[in-house]
């Protein structure tokens, strides 16, 4: 079963009970929900192969949507976790500058209620792998994706392609 990736901001998920003395034992802080903002009760996620072979490409696709090069933080969890909390996943077209990634690896978590969203946040806090790809690595991934025609340069913001160009010059010298 594939893995599910959601872009997050890692520090929002830093959590230990002692840091939140006001929190009930079965509860979680609200801030992680900021990374699970739904639209039409749906949440955009990406499917990652078991061997994570498509992870660099999906990461580049996500970063290509940005205004500037940045680190990419993500939560990665087993798709079966969604089944366990009775959450429905539906394949859909992604909205990144990488058309192949959009067609093959994007899905929406659908029919999300507030309760299910909190269940999902709890599941991520407990079971997901929360990782960071550094800014420098993201720049290299994007440069590779552009060089391999996975991402059209014209779909990138000016600041991003300026940095890709600068990297290309540095690599030449």
């Amino acid at each position: 079963m594939p893995l599910i990736l959601r872009k997050i901001r890692k520090a929002r998920w830093y959590y230990n009970q002692s840091g939140f003395p006001w929190l009930l034992e079965s509860d979680i802080p609200a801030d992680p929900l900021g990374d699970l903002a739904t639209n039409n009760n749906e949440l955009s996620v990406w499917q990652i192969d078991d061997d994570k072979s498509n992870l660099p490409r999906v990461a580049a696709a996500l970063a290509a949507n940005g205004d500037d090069i940045s680190n990419l933080d993500y939560a990665l969890f087993d798709q079966k976790l969604l089944n366990e909390i009775n959450i429905t996943l539906r394949p859909s077209k992604g909205n990144s500058p990488d058309e192949t990634a959009n067609q093959n690896w994007h899905s929406d978590i659908v029919e999300l209620s507030a309760r299910k969203l909190v269940e999902l946040a709890k599941a991520i806090l407990t079971h997901a792998e929360i990782k960071r790809i550094p800014e420098k690595e993201i720049l290299h991934l994007l440069a590779q994706a552009v060089a391999a025609d996975q991402i059209e340069r014209t779909k990138l913001r000016a600041k991003i392609w300026a940095k890709i160009d600068k990297l290309a010059i540095l690599n030449k010298n």
Partner: protein, 187 residues
């Protein structure tokens, strides 16, 4: 006299107050007046920067931030720094390091301060990011680490090493180590 600035003239070394009376030199009264106006204008400017910094942080509290995505806050922050230079960074530094700003907003500010392409404030931005590695909030420290990763400046290595030694949060410890490795291999 024309080679000296007003503040030079008014400084104790160039103004022998013990031995000469200002009344003996009427032009000095004009200079004093000019200096007072200049000092007042400078004070007004600093006051304005201070208030703008407060307003900037206050307005940002309700904004949502995402890595790599510009926000009203990040755009206003960049414009503010470009307009006021070091004075803006010093005001930002006061609010961030005194920890009177929302952690999420402070973290966002540090990320974009590291990413800014603004040579005149480079050194003070670097110092603020280094200092913020020692703030009590894990989110602020994370923002500082990300800002330093953006600057990619090996001068921050010493501060980073100290921060790593002090860091109690496991995940952030790993992330700081990752930034250190990057800076150590940076050209």
């Amino acid at each position: 006299m024309s080679q000296q600035s007003v503040s030079d003239v008014m400084s104790s070394s160039s103004w022998p107050t013990e031995t000469l009376s200002p009344a003996a030199f009427p032009f000095v009264e004009d200079l004093k007046d000019e200096w007072a106006k200049s000092a007042a204008a400078q004070q007004d400017r600093l006051e304005e920067i201070w208030q703008q910094t407060q307003a900037l942080f206050k307005a940002a509290k309700d904004q949502h931030f995402e890595d790599g995505i510009e926000s009203v806050f990040s755009n206003e922050l960049a414009a503010f720094v470009e307009k006021h230079g070091d004075a803006a960074i010093k005001a930002l530094a006061h609010f961030i390091t005194s920890e009177t700003v929302n952690d999420e907003v402070a973290s966002e500010a540090l990320r974009w301060l590291g990413r800014m392409d603004h040579a005149p404030t480079y050194n003070v931005r670097l110092r603020l990011l280094e200092r913020s590695l020692f703030c009590s909030s894990v989110r602020v420290r994370d923002g500082a680490a990300l800002g330093l990763a953006s600057m990619d400046d090996p001068h921050a290595i010493t501060s980073l090493k100290q921060a790593i030694q002090k860091e109690k949060h496991n995940e952030l410890h790993k992330d700081l180590q990752q930034v250190l490795t990057q800076l150590e291999t940076s050209n």
